[in-house]
Amino acid sequence: MARISMRVDGMKVTDDVEPRTLLVQYLREGLGKTGTVIGCDTSNCGACTVHLDGDSVKSCNVLAVQADGCEVTTIEGLADTVESDLHPVQEAFRECHGLQCGFCTPGMIMQSVDLLKRNPQPSEEEIREGIEGNLCRCTGYHNIVRAVQYASGHLATAANPRGATEEVDAL
């Protein structure tokens, strides 16, 4: 067993795990974070995408021990939980119906957040390339792309909700 510590969705966790434990397994079985799903289990589909120290990764292709000391954000930690709002990208997926069966959605949203962080105003082609590592078995890509465009527009006009909250607090 190996001792690991990390912050997951803002919460500090410490556990003993087998070195072979995959990060997605640890998140789901160790921490009960079942919002992150296992799709293909071959690192193809991207459904298990989470953020590791701020970068999107496929959590079925990272060992939990490799994430020791890191900051992990899952789909469950994306929204501003104090306000219990949806994250703007989650809101956009709901607004544009950017899902059909919904299984790829956690990964699609996590990857879209990463894409918009690096490129806040992506073209349609850049969106399609940016989420190329995420597969939708329903092939519902059109509305997913629209959702990312919608989020891009709203993120551009609305301030970062966390920043806005801090501003309100400061007042």
Partner: protein, 284 residues
């Protein structure tokens, strides 16, 4: 799918990593970014007793200016290589090819050295490294040695790195002012190329002064298209010159046949892709 049980060690220096390799020998596998190794372990195609993680060795990360060349640390992630200003300026072909590796999530974990040491013939980085005359810096019990690309790639998933050694960096002679394009043919998004061509050119006053062409997945190892290069150098950069040179791309290659296409298909494809790669490198 979960890997078979293994013990894990994460050294923080190259010396510690070499000591671990000396101790566990052929019962150990090295993990860099893990984007190729972890699927292999999960599918139980390999079941090492020990996994040695290089992820905590900070000295292997980053790109350094060495004067006439740049040194890319083996543990530099694809996303960092693809956006590095030194790589963009002096090894443009590497920047272009790296930006096409798999998908963004994989590029956030996968490493330059890990991909090259894995030596998958369909991997995107071998051909550009070979084309740019890269030298491979390998650390072992007796110290460091430097191996040229022509000797580094020895066969299918086989390199000059011995079981007690580590690839620590890749030195690339500066190709400043060379234009570049990596043309890749994939069946579906984010997969390995059926065939790909990296072209980088030095053009002055309409004349091609230098040309380096690397081929991906046209054999067990990455290849240089020497015939194409010779047909370009000293010539005017015209459509006809490019077309005639590209027609030589498959010369001497023994491409594989697989579900994505047979060898003849690849021999044809590589000519088309070479023409496109050169044309796009020329700004067309």
């Amino acid at each position: 799918m979960i890997p078979a049980s293994f013990d894990y060690v994460a050294p923080t220096t190259v010396e510690e990593a070499l000591a671990a390799l000396a101790q566990y020998g052929d019962e150990a596998k090295i993990i860099a970014g893990g984007q190729s190794l972890l699927p292999v372990l999960r599918m139980r195609l390999n079941a090492p007793e020990w996994v040695i993680d290089l992820g905590r060795i900070d000295s292997l990360k980053g790109v350094r200016d060495e004067g006439a060349s740049i040194l890319i640390g083996a543990m530099t992630r694809h996303c960092d290589v693809a956006t590095d200003p030194l790589v963009a300026e002096h090894a443009t072909l590497v920047a272009r090819a790296t930006a096409t590796v798999a998908d963004e999530q994989v590029r956030h974990r996968g490493t330059f050295g890990g991909a090259l040491a894995h030596a998958d013939p369909a991997g995107d980085l071998g051909a550009p490294a070979l084309a740019l005359d890269a030298e491979f810096v390998i650390a072992g019990p007796a110290g460091e040695r430097v191996v040229p690309g022509s000797e580094f790639f020895q066969g299918l998933f086989e390199t000059a790195v011995s079981e007690d050694e580590l690839l620590v960096g890749v030195r690339i002679p500066k190709h400043t002012g060379w234009t570049a394009h990596y043309e890749k043919f994939v069946r579906v998004a984010h997969q390995w190329p059926i065939c790909a061509v990296g072209a980088t050119l030095k053009v002055s006053g309409g004349v091609i002064e230098g040309a380096a062409i690397g081929l991906t997945n046209m054999g067990a190892t990455p290849l240089r298209a020497a015939g194409v290069e010779a047909a370009l150098v000293g010539q005017q950069a015209t459509e006809e010159v490019v077309r005639n040179a590209a027609a030589l791309a498959a010369d001497g290659a023994e491409p594989p046949s697989d579900l994505n296409g047979d060898a003849d298909y690849r021999r044809h494809l590589v000519m088309v892709l070479t023409r496109r790669a050169i044309t796009k490198a020329l700004g067309g």
